[in-house]
């Protein structure tokens, strides 16, 4: 469940928003800036992974719960 939550784009966007807010407004140390930068880039990478840019074929579900291409 937590794994799934981590991969959720919406959650990650929320985290990014918060992170950028910190970077833009708060008085932070240089180390924190670098940490936040790295975390932000890592999050963006995760976002990209989460999208899984492979075009999907439509699947058809049969009575046995098996899927087949449309």
């Amino acid at each position: 469940m937590s794994e799934k939550k981590k991969e959720n784009l919406e959650e990650m966007f929320k985290d990014l928003e918060e992170l950028i807010g910190k970077m833009e407004n708060e008085e932070i140390t240089l180390e924190q800036t670098f940490d936040l930068y790295n975390n932000g880039m890592e999050l963006l990478k995760k976002c990209n992974l989460s999208i899984d840019e492979v075009e999907k074929k439509v699947l058809v579900l049969d009575e046995n719960g098996e899927t087949d291409e449309f």
Binding site: M23, T33, F34, Y37, L44, V58, V60, T67
Partner: protein
């Protein structure tokens, strides 16, 4: 020529006959709609047909209050109005004032009753509505495999985001077995763990849409743990499924738009985030650089060399001041010396001696100013202008000067 009439005369004669006929003035006609056209003026032109033939009909804009649904070809209706002649075409037609769906009355009542019941049970209330996730990975679809609905959904979904996985459960959406099939589809897609589900079908008559008005389907949607978007028929078709679903889409295409996020927008959002992160980092680094530069400036100012220079300069100044003071003091003293020498010269005893006075001193070196100071036989020294005389006291005599 007797017995010859104009077209106008014949048409108005026939029209008159129709008008005077009591039955034709208030008549209910049952049939199926065909050739239905909505004229921009608001009038509706259509035909009613049955196995044997057709009758032309018109409903004027002024009578539209008698129609509470959208007329569509194939609908079975009961039209109320009058049959009269349109003289220009020499045609008779039905001027409809009220149109009702045939056989719909019973279904409509059933619909209203169920709607009321489920509403009272709270099945439509907002607190049970699940939010449709903004970014889904898989979308379940319960609809007919060969209908227009599934094509619309696939087209819209693919256009918006080809990376979202669509899983179709091919369901029977009308007729016998439709209810069971729809329910099974919802349950199976729920098991597949899709993120959101579209349940629906294309447009049709109330009978064709009826499965979506059944309580069992409503309950299956209500109980589904996955958010459900209903998409039944056209915008004007409202079913129980629409009320109970987490979100109602007016059409299957609209459902796909609501379920599937646009990949381009998403990418734009992400690159905007990236820009902001980079800009924020650069500006933070910039701030620190300025801070560092300011410190470096201050440090430079505090370098010991500066102190050294300061001390050296101070010493040099002091030296100059001391030198000045000394010089001034020296010249001052020289002046004073000269002055005093001059004054000394004026009061010098030599000057007195040279003008006839002399200076007498005892043997102890005391200046003798009175007779009381000396005794007889005492030796004295007398200084005159060119030397000294040694003398001896013979006698003293005191004189009082007036």
């Amino acid at each position: 020529m007797n017995g010859i009439y104009t077209v106008k005369q014949v048409n108005s004669y026939i029209k008159n006959m129709f008008t005077q006929d009591f039955m034709l003035n208030r008549i209910y006609v049952k049939g199926e709609i065909s050739n239905c056209k909505y004229h921009p003026s608001g009038h509706i032109y259509f035909s009613l047909k049955d196995e044997s033939g057709t009758i032309a009909c018109v409903m004027f804009a002024g009578s539209r209050a008698g129609l509470s649904f959208t007329l569509k070809n194939g609908q079975r209706v009961i039209a109320f109005g009058s049959v009269s002649v349109y003289e220009r075409d020499g045609k008779y037609q039905l001027y409809a004032r009220e149109i009702k769906l045939d056989g719909a009355g019973e279904l409509y009542e059933k619909f209203e009753a169920l709607k009321r019941e489920l509403c009272e049970m709270g099945m439509f209330s907002d607190e049970y509505k699940q939010r449709i996730p903004a970014y889904v990975k898989t979308v379940g679809i319960v609809t007919a495999q060969n209908g227009a609905a599934v094509r619309d959904i696939i087209n819209v979904a693919k256009r918006r985001n080809p990376y979202v996985q669509l899983i179709l459960y091919p369901a029977l959406v009308q007729g016998e077995g439709a209810v069971k099939s729809i329910i099974r589809g919802i349950r199976m897609l729920e098991q597949q763990g899709v993120d959101v589900m579209i349940v629906g079908r294309g447009g049709g008559s109330i009978e064709e849409l009826w499965a979506f008005n059944e309580e069992e389907v409503a309950r299956a949607i209500f109980e589904c743990s996955v958010p459900v978007i209903s998409a039944v028929g056209h915008e004007t078709d409202v079913t129980i499924a629409d009320f109970v679903a987490d979100l109602r889409a007016p059409t299957p295409s609209a459902a796909a738009e609501l379920a599937v996020y646009e990949i381009r927008e998403c990418k734009k959002t992400m690159s905007a985030y990236e820009d902001r992160i980079v800009r924020a980092a650069l500006s933070q680094i910039g701030l620190f650089r300025t801070k560092a530069e300011r410190f470096s400036m201050r440090l430079k100012l505090l370098h010991p060399r500066h102190k050294l220079y300061e001390h050296r300069q101070f010493t040099a100044e002091m030296e100059n001041r001391i030198r000045d003071i000394m010089e001034r003091r020296l010249t001052q003293e020289k002046h004073r010396l000269a002055l005093n020498a001059e004054r000394m010269k004026r009061v010098s005893p030599l000057l007195k001696l040279s003008s006839g006075y002399s200076y007498i001193r005892s043997e102890e070196g005391k200046n003798i100013r009175s007779t009381a100071q000396v005794k007889r036989g005492e030796k004295l020294e007398i200084f005159v202008s060119d030397g000294k005389i040694e003398a001896e006291v013979h006698n003293t005599e005191t004189m009082i000067h007036g």
